[in-house]
Amino acid sequence: DTAVSQTPKYLVTQMGNDKSIKCEQNLGHDTMYWYKQDSKKFLKIMFSYNNKELIINETVPNRFSPKSPDKAHLNLHINSLELGDSAVYFCASSQRLAANEQFFGPGTRLTVL
């Protein structure tokens, strides 16, 4: 069983489109995260949610809107996609907000043409 899963694994789309990436964890964790890895492989936090509540929003453009329907899911919706949004997006989860370990999903490679 995959602990943290993301769909899709690959996403190729045109500029201006709207797309969503889904994340699910079956670990019973309270806290979930989205990280972005850019073309230079630099990883940076975007959002964190704890029990469906937004905790961190790291100055991400408004075009990015995370949604947590329940604490096992954290989806990322992106409006009006831009070339610079091309990256690998990682979902992660941790047992609780102050936990010292995060479990990562396999990543979603988004390519905007």
Binding site: L43, S48, A92, L97, A98, P106, G107
Partner: protein, 115 residues
Amino acid sequence: AQTVTQSQPEMSVQEAETVTLSCTYDTSESDYYLFWYKQPPSRQMILVIRQEAYKQQNATENRFSVNFQKAAKSFSLKISDSQLGDAAMYFCAYLVTGANSKLTFGKGITLSVRP
């Protein structure tokens, strides 16, 4: 703000030899955690080793060990008996627990292993 610095973009090691990857960090916190993550071409983020800042003893996991120097804010990773499967990007990361808990990553280092 916390920062993590990995100054070496690339390193190479001969199979079966030992290699050390460097990492420094900057923080005003006293309680935090440090990590090394491995990212192979499959892009999966794999936790290699974790160090609690309050522990003086250096963490070890089989062939992987760290040299944690808290006063110097240095956290290097030593890989002994390097194997071809160790070839990957390695990221040093810092975590302070609390309401705004998040991982802060260094830029990563690409490790190649020569057969």
